[in-house]
Subunit: 453 residues, 4 copies
């Protein structure tokens, strides 16, 4: 049965999407072969063109089109030595003429190929994430601008606080996402190739050629792969992995807040966010589950733990190649890439279909009968009525009394005894109008909308 | 290309082994179908035998032999609703005669099927882990008994401390493993089926039948699956998941200490442990990497983070079904099962091939020229020579002077001035003989060997 | 300034409570001294009574009343050696007559004292947590019984699903808490004393006395401390730490779901839960923040990471005493104890003041105009109207049409063409009455109320 | 008893150092007060100078010298509302004349003060860490240069691999540390002040003044504190916290690899690293524990989990202020700062006292009788002898035969049949000389030494 090949098809990986093919085992294998061919090319070996042709070298940061190695057989063969590169080299050479074989893997150690291939895969995945983030930003910017002045209630510690705008809330998501995008872009531009040889000294490269050649090889190898040139081997200097991981987790955090706010605002009682493609339920045909938000949230719950795994491994990178810490990175990094790929795609689609129920927004804002303006009332009327009287009025309003009425009466009494103040002379209606108490909310939207994505 | 079906074949999952097929997507699918069939059977529906036959019901805790659903198509279909059970029910019904269809999924919610299937999978995986742990314990018990009296040096904070025995060290691994085995067995016997219906009240089961039938269904369903009967639905009561996770992580911890001690003892400079099937290196043909220990260690580095993911999800299980926390459990639990399956198998093989280089053990013990006995010297000779003199002798021995010689001279001088003590009359050779300072080490081995595995 | 002594007074430890004094540095110091005195007593040393008197030995699992060591000075002195026991032994001996001094710490290693003291502290903290959980359970059981039949809406993936009861929801919290309590009790009864000597062989105890005495000492030592007798030293066998940690995290999970549900139900728009002692806001005097729920949630977010730290340390416990892993346990375990102590106390108080706004519950349930019964409608009327017609009616009701009216009309039409079915003859009002669709909810409450806490 | 004030004095926080006073509760309190005073100053309030004088304003990124609030009382008062700022404002106002009181906390919300104070504390701690890292780098650079050409064996997967140099190993530590330093510096320069008011719109600031004033206040506030001006409020945009956390964990990782390599190299059997201030043992007076390395390692094991806590909180920052996620950050961030402060100081001291036992280095390198050169032998002699013959010679050497002798014989035989190759004509001694097979190791040292720290 075809579907039994392979351990994981995405059945229980909630945010699995088409994009995760970018980091599948098949993609990984292609990246390994790409790294091996890139090394031959970096050597400027006479066999380079032949070997490039055999494996379908594409260049420009693409993976080879014809790795030509049986994945399942490679998996079995890789168990004994603990990594797949050792049997891979044999399998690649077997596809070549004897005279071309020695050029393959010349001077390299398994970690050179594996780390470089992971960086290549990561770069392709990160660029896909970035593309999704751009689209996501665009949808959100439209939402923010559309609802620049839709007044809603700010909620703190679960309770209605003061007014804000839907636009300002969306602008806040955009700021988080922009920051994570910026980190991802920086990291992406710095993902280095790895080339150090067995002990990280490049001695084998010197032995095969000379000091000057060995010195220039890492940059040449990186250039073939479209990766950054390493300043030195990073076999046990693992910031390329952890900075990538951190940027991915930061992206997940930003996606998570967006999804959590949407899931919250889509609750039946709140109903401010309307999702475009709700999930159904066989048993309860009326349900409109915000399934995309739920899936993004599930991803975001897992991301910090994967990032921590990468750090735990990085901090245990002893010797010139550690006894387990390096191996622990592979599945953690790949799962983190897959998770953020899926979360970004899902969030992009969620944002594209998202709209605001402005009636629900207004209805919720009105729920507390003006108490969302209690801070403003305190600021504006304390000079007139005194802090004790203001506090008492708000307390009674919290218990159900009519806030506007009480304020009106108190102001009228105050005006009898003294010159009406400039501010208090404004109507109570204006004072309790949430539209007039949104501070710089509009500026935040304008700022978010301005920035080219 | 066949190998391109599926995301993950085990290529970069270091401890991937044959055993992880127990928790693959294909196995997961079979478990889903098994749960659906078990529910029909628990209902004692007239269609039960037909449906059992169609899907290859096996009973006895086995999964069905003929799920007959295309895995890749199911994965695609499951994205919209956020879980695969909704499209699965349709696919299963499509294989049945119209009259048999309504019996499928009667009264259930997706979570009933998914949670029960995960528990079924977990139980099968846990039993495989337990079987590997039994074999591992056997190998270790043989090692412990063989080296019951092989004196070696205890190391604390990386430094030689006092004597112990190889057997006592192995017995310590056995105690850790026995404890985790005991936890796994307890958890295994308590893994419950899930049956609550859409809101966890079983109201649909009552509506389809009556209160009494709905009350007995969960236990009947559990019995069909060979799982424990739940006391009530546990849609948001997630101890069945976290206790399983904790026991698995505890098992990983125990395997990790074993692997770490072997990796350390196999270092070129120490050389006390000889591994049976060392990993090779294409570049360095002389290397005998303790690859199995390395792979187990890589698993163990990751396990705590997966366990923490399960707890984070459990603590966020709000409402009657949470908005992401439940979905986050699936990949984390499955990866944790896979990881412990692989680590247990790999550790079992490591132990089976493990032997002791007793010459290296003796050579290392002798490295500090008797200073491993300094605690004993202090205890035995302080009454005779005084603590100041003993401390001075040990300090000079640490700097390179001959410990035995200095002690001999000091004792002779002491005997001149007073009655020789009982203990001091023993020869210095006996005092500095590590074999005579191993305390209860032998008892620990005997205890570990006695206990039936 | 008095308040400057010490690093941490609880200022930014949100759930800090009076209870965390049980695991403060001062309590820790008292526990160290208690362990040292207990060892002297276990030895049945002639100095035992004198030494017990000097330090204020209390017995019965209590800590000594007069440790008499300057904490700040001890902290400074403990830096060099990496643990506080080495300077502590000197400080304790300095308080004794020369003849009583050698009895202190006889045969022991620092880890014996430190691990035993941590277990002693843990047991005292766990018992306090258990006491809080008993009170919490009592409050929740009263709530569950009071609202056994208060029908509310079950929410899944943030959306209204089907009816359930407030009592059933509370019973679900109780089941989680009961399970964690049971785990804590089991762990509590098994917390072992530690006694192994420098290399874990008890060789020094044999040297000071004889094999038989050394064999009985660990149990005698444990008995003095009121801890469980260890089967053997567990210097690198760390299940006593991780099982404790797991049970604490499991408790945090259970508290977290309770707090998260309350925080959600206390949201301004939902308003089903009324908290007794809401937190205020200087700027917004109307706010009634569910501060206790918020604080519990903050604790619960942190707990899994502390539990994972303990596992990471346990899996790295190499040699006979590891080079960092053991030290990493101390702050992680203590912070986890403190966090669960605070969360349990805070949750207890939250539950004691909690009440239900039954009007809000009813109002929310009515929000979807009967659609919470769509599953029941489907089950009951599909046999009468056919699945296509039922689905269409529910779809139109989801879009705003009158569900009851449409059903009435459809049934009337159906009755014209055929014999009225038994069920359909019931009134639509009864069919859409949520009280009649709560399944076994009442049973779950009765079950939770029955169980003696 | 003085030492009983406060929960934590550093007794069981292994890397606690004098530096952690920078983030103690007392320091935290001073930072709170500093933020409140800075806000008054940013307002250019007429009371600003008076208030500055009362609390001992220092400016220039320093905390106030006279917070004048009882810490223990504040802790008790802060429990009800969930954060200490509410009671703090009252306590501060109580120290002022009535006319100066309204200026305090004008327009602000608790989170503005708390977040800004945490950033202020963080910046002071980060700068101390950076200062320690500079000293650490200096010590390491001296070591690297001193041992630029000290040939040692590279170890991979615990086994001897090929030659490298001590200098290259140290240069690798330096590269990790330089990168984390660079990240910390970037983060440090971007730590923003927080100013958003109750709902993040700055509406209260507008109400107290006007739009323009409210717009310029955040930057003015930041300038007073010496922090970066925020682009907008970041109440739920938590990258300032997670990027700081990530940089701290990255620093811990780098320190961890250094400490782990030293701990490994200091093992009794390896003995290549000599630590300057070893830890002692009361029972085993000969021990020279690498206590500093052990303590750094204990810190490093914990760091990833604290970083993950910050990410978990950041991803759950819902609403305009979340219901627990924000509160969870405080203890996690503070503990992470403390931990890295201690680890950096301890690592600095470790490096300052570190030296190399070159005899041990040479002895270890010689252990495998030339097999560390097997890669070179393969590269150089395969063209002469053929790969089969070379592999056989190395296999026999691995089993104990004399490598040099076998090679000599084989070469002599080869030369008889054909023209001697250029390379093979070199002596076997030169071929097996590890000094001639260290590749670019020297370049890496030179590069690390050149870079100004």
């Amino acid at each position: 049965l075809r579907s039994e090949a392979g351990f994981d098809h995405g059945l229980l990986t909630p945010v699995s999407s088409g994009a995760d093919a970018l980091v599948s085992d098949a993609a990984m294998l292609a990246a390994f072969v790409t790294a091996e061919v890139a090394l031959v090319r970096a050597w400027r070996d006479p066999s380079a063109e032949t070997i490039s042709r055999v494996f379908g070298w594409s260049g420009g940061g693409q993976v080879v089109t014809d790795p030509g190695v049986d994945l399942d057989r490679l998996v079995v063969a890789s168990v004994a030595g603990g990594n797949p590169v050792i049997p891979l080299v044999g399998a690649l050479r077997a596809r070549l003429d004897p005279s071309d074989r020695p050029a393959v893997h010349r001077g390299a150690t398994s970690q050179d190929i594996l780390d470089s291939a992971l960086m290549l895969l990561a770069r392709r995945a990160v660029r896909r994430v970035l593309a999704d983030l751009v689209q996501l930003r665009h949808s959100l910017a439209v939402l923010a601008v559309t609802h620049r002045d839709t007044v809603t209630v700010a909620r703190t510690l679960t309770q209605h606080a003061v007014p804000t705008t839907v636009g300002a809330r969306v602008a806040s998501w955009i700021r988080s996402l922009d920051r994570s995008r910026s980190r991802l872009e920086t990291v992406d531009s710095q993902l280095p190739a790895q080339l150090g040889g067995a002990g990280g000294t490049l001695a084998a490269f010197v032995a095969h050629a000379d000091h000057a050649t060995a010195s220039r090889l890492p940059a040449a190898f990186a250039a073939e792969l479209g990766l950054a040139a390493p300043d030195a081997p990073w076999h046990t200097v693992r910031w390329p992995v952890t900075e990538l991981g951190d940027a991915l987790v930061q992206t997940a955090d930003a996606l998570g807040v967006f999804a959590a706010d949407v899931a919250m605002g889509a609750r039946t009682e709140i109903g401010e966010w309307i999702v475009g493609a709700p999930g159904g339920s066989s048993a309860m045909p009326h349900k409109r589950n915000p399934a995309a938000a739920v899936l993004v949230r599930s991803a975001v719950l897992r991301a910090p733990h994967l990032g921590a795994t990468l750090h735990a491994a990085a901090g245990a990178a002893v010797d010139e190649r550690p006894d387990g810490a390096w191996h622990a990175e592979w599945p953690a990094l790949r799962e983190l890439l897959r998770l953020v790929l899926g979360a970004a795609t899902t969030a992009r689609d969620l944002a594209a279909g998202l709209s605001v129920d402005t009636q629900a927004v207004a209805r919720n804002l009105a729920l507390t009968g003006g108490l969302a303006l209690s801070e403003r009332v305190t600021i504006e009327l304390t000079p007139v009525l005194g802090s004790v009287a203001v506090a008492e009025i708000i307390a009674r309003a919290s218990a159900g009394d009519d806030l506007a009425g009480m304020l009106q009466a108190a102001l009228r009494a105050a005006e009898e005894v003294e010159e009406p103040s400039r501010r208090a002379s404004g109507s109570i209606g204006a004072l309790l109008d949430p539209v007039r108490y949104i501070g710089l909310a509009g500026d935040f939207v304008d700022h978010a909308a301005e920035e080219a994505s």
